[in-house]
Amino acid sequence: MGSMFRSEEMVLCQLFVQPEAAYVSMYELGEAGIAQFRDLNPHVNDFQRRYVSEVRRCSEMERKLRWVSGELPEPPPPPIPSRRMLSPREINMLEEKIDYIESEIQEMTKNARNLKSDYLSLIELKLLIEKTQTFFQDHSAQRKLSATVQIYNNDAVFGHLGFIAGTVATSRVPSFERMLWRISHGNIFFKQAQIDQPLKDPITGHELQKTVFVVFFHGEQIKLRVKKVCFGFKATLYPCPATYKDQQEMLSGVETRIKDLEMVLDQTEQHRRLVLTNIAGDISTWMLAVRKEKAIYHTLNMFSMDIIKKCLIAECWVPKSDLYIAQKALDDGVKASGSPIPSILHHVPTREIPPTFNRTNKFTRGFQTLIDSYGIASYREVNPALYTIITFPFLFAVMFGDVGHGLIMTAFSAIIVIYEKRLSKNKSDNEIWNIFFAGRYIILLMGIFSVYTGLIYNDMFSKSLNLFGSSWMNVYDNETLANHKALELDPAVAYTQTPYPFGLDPAWQFATNNIIFLNSFKMKLSIIFGVLHMAFGVTMSVVNFNFFRKPEMIYLQYVPQILFLMLLFWYLCILMFMKWTMYSATATDPTYGTSCAPSVLITFINMMLLKGSEDSPPCKAMMFDGQDALQKLFLTLGFLCIPIMLFGKPAFLFWKARNQKRHEVGGERGEVPAGGGGGAGAAGELLITQAIHTIEYVLGTVSHTASYLRLWALSLAHAQLSAVLWQRVLRYGLARSLAGSVTMYVGFAVWAFFTLAILVLMEGLSAFLHTLRLHWVEFMSKFYDGQGYAFMPFSFAAIIEHDDEQLAQNGAPPEKKDEEY
C-alpha cells in the first residue's frame, strides 16, 4: 500500500562520533531532517553544557544581525540557499565581519544623532530670533526704553529688565507659565509664540510642537528661580541678543551654520545608506548560516561525552527507510574532518514507544494535519488520513451541493494552486491567508466534489439545469390551467416513468412542494452514507488487530460490533432501497400504490420496540412476507452481540492469564501465585473499561447514525439560503424596462456580495466544521487510538520556518510537526 497507510517504522539509533567530525555530520543531518535527538543530559544546567560558549557566540551574532536588519530601510531580500557549509574558520571571519559592520553602523547612527540635535538647536535658535524680534519691537514701542544693551552673564538685559529666551514643548506651556507666575509672585512678564511647523526630535524621530517664549524679570533672585523652572520643564535656553542689528547678525550666522549642517547630515545619511545597501543582500544568508550553526550546537549539547573513548554519543529516532541517509551523513563527517576513527551508527532494540511519522507531500499534508489535530496516531496504527483525502471533500460536498458555489470555490483554489510557488515565497503574517494557503488542495477537492453533487442536486445558484429533458410533463388543458393557480402533477399520468438520467429532475426546482420530496431523498441519502462510513470505520479496526497480532479481537470485538451495526442499521438502509423500488404510482395492486407506502422510520421504530402493527386494507403493514420474523431475528442477534462485546475481551484475557499461571505453577510446586490480589483488581478495571466501550459503541450506533442527518440539514439550509437570495435580491432586477437595468446593476452587486460572504464563505466554513466533526467523532471513534506523539526531527527547514516565532529561552530550535513546503 501507499506510504500513508500507517505511520513509518522507526528505529532507535545510537551514534558514536568524534567531536571533530560531529559538526559536519550534524549539518548534513539538519539538512536532511530525519533524526529526532533525545536529550542525554537532562539534568545538566543550560550553562554547564559542553558547547554553551558556541551557542552564546551564535546568539550574539544573531542579535547583531537582527539589529542591523532592523536599521535597513526596507525588509531584506530572501536568503540565497547555499548547500555549502561554513567551516569554523569561515565562521570566525563572519563573526568579525558582523562585529565590524555593527560597530560601524552604530557609530554612524550616533554621529547622525549628534548632528541632528545640533541641527535642531540651530533651527530653534533661528525661529526664536525671528519670533522675539516682534517682542522686542513691541516692547520698545510700549515702554520707550533706551536701546542700551548690557550683556550680563549670558543673559541679555533690556533696559532695566533682564530676560531669558528659549523654547519649550507646547503641551507644557500653560503649566510652565503658571509655575513661573507662582514662583515670581506675578513679577514676570511672559510672552510666547508657537512655532507653526513641528520639529523633528533627533533621537526618537517623533515630531515635536514647540513654543518660543521670553520671560522678562527684574533682579537676580528671580532670574535663578526662572532658570530652575526652565530646567524643570526641560526648556532649552538660547542666548538671544536684544538689539535689532545684533539679531540680524546672529540670524545670518545661524543660517549659514544651518546650511552647512544640512549638507553634512545629507552626506552622513547617504554614506549610511550606502553601507546598508551593500550588506542588505548578504544579511539574510548570514542570518541563515548563523541560525543553522546555533541549531547544530544546541543539538550537540544534547550529546553525552564518553570520557574513556573520547567520543560523543547521541541517541536518536530515525525512520527505518532513512537510515542510509544517517549513515552517509556520519561518513561525510568523518571524511571532512580527516579523522582516522570512523563514526558508528548502532541500532538499539528498545521497548519504548517510538514517535509517529507520516511521510507527506504537499498534497497529503493538509489532510494529515486535519487528522493530527484530533490526536497523533499511535505508533503504526492505521492512518485515517489516507481515506480522508476523498471522504472529507465528498461529505462536505453533500452538504454544500451547488454548482455555482462549487465553481467559485474550485476557481479560487485552482488559482492558488497554480501560483503556489510564487505565493509561498511571500511569508505572510496574515493567519487567515496562511490557513487558506495551507489548505489549498483540500479546498480544491471540496470545490470539485461540490460541482458534482451540485449537478446531482441540480442546483446552480438555486436554478436547475435541464440537460437531458425532464421526466415531468403538463397534462392539464387550458381551462383547468386558467381556473387554478397551482396544480400538482400526478406521477401516474404526468410522469414518463423513466427518471431523469443524471441527478434530480429540473422540474423540482420550480415546485412549491419541493421540500417534501427533497427531505425524503436527502434523509435517506444521509443515513445510507452514514451507515457505510461507520461500517468502514469499524472495519479499520480489523486492520489494526491484524497488524498488532490480536486475531482473537476480531472475533470478540469486530464481529459483534459490525453485526450489531449492520443487522440493525444496514437493514434500515435496505428497507429504504426496497421502498424506492417496490412502491409506485403506477402499481396495479393497491397494496404497492402510493397511499400504502409505509414509513421506513416508523417500521424501524416498531421493530426496535417489538410493536406489531396491523394491516389496514388494502395496505399491508409489512413490506414483504416474513418481514416480522426476520426483524425479530435481526433484533435478537443484534442484542446477543452486546454480551459478547461486554464480556468477550475480559473473559479471554482472564482465561489466558489463568493458562499462563497454570503453566508457571506447574513448573514450581508449592509457590503461591503472587498476582492473585492484583489479578482481581486488574480484572475489575478491565471489565469497567470494556463496559464503557460497549455502552459507548452501542449508544453511538444510534446517536451517530442520527448525527449523519446533518448532511441533510445543512444541504437544506444551503439550498434555501440560495433560493432566498435569488428570489429576494436578484429577481427584482429582471423583467423590467429601463429602470430595471439600474436595479439589476445594484442588485447583482448585492447578490454577488452575499453569495460570496454568506453562501460560499460562511456556509463553506460551517460545512467544513461539520464534516470535520463527522470524521473525528463518528468515523474515528470506531477504531482510532490516537495516543502517539509526533516525530519532530532536527531539521533546518523547520527551524527557518519558525524564525520569528517562539524561540525558546535557551535559544533552542522551536518544535515543529513536520517539514514545511
Partner: protein, 87 residues
C-alpha cells in the same frame, strides 16, 4: 419499477472504469497506493450518490406542484408530448 437501462449502464460503467480499471494503471512510485485509494473511493462514493438520486426518482410517490404559468411554459418550451387542447 420505472427505470431505463441506458443511464444505469453508462454511469455504472463510467465509475467502474474509474474505480476498477484505472487503479491498475496507477503510476508506479511512492504514491501508487494513495492514487489507487483515491480513485476507488471517488468512484464508489460518486456512483452510490448517483444511484441514490436515480433510485429515489424511479417510482415517485408525489409529483411537483407547479404554478399554472410554469405548467404552460414547460409544455411550450420543453416540448413534452402531451394530450392537450390548444396549448
Amino acid at each position: 419499477m420505472g427505470y431505463s437501462l441506458i443511464p444505469i449502464f453508462v454511469f455504472s460503467i463510467l465509475w467502474g472504469v474509474v474505480g476498477i480499471i484505472c487503479p491498475i494503471f496507477a503510476p508506479k512510485g511512492p504514491n501508487r497506493g494513495i492514487i489507487q485509494v483515491v480513485l476507488i473511493l471517488t468512484a464508489a462514493t460518486c456512483w452510490l450518490f448517483w444511484l441514490c438520486a436515480y433510485m429515489a426518482q424511479m417510482n415517485p410517490l408525489i409529483g411537483p406542484r407547479l404554478s399554472n404559468e410554469t405548467l404552460i411554459w414547460i409544455s411550450r418550451t420543453w416540448g413534452n408530448k402531451i394530450n392537450n387542447t390548444q396549448a
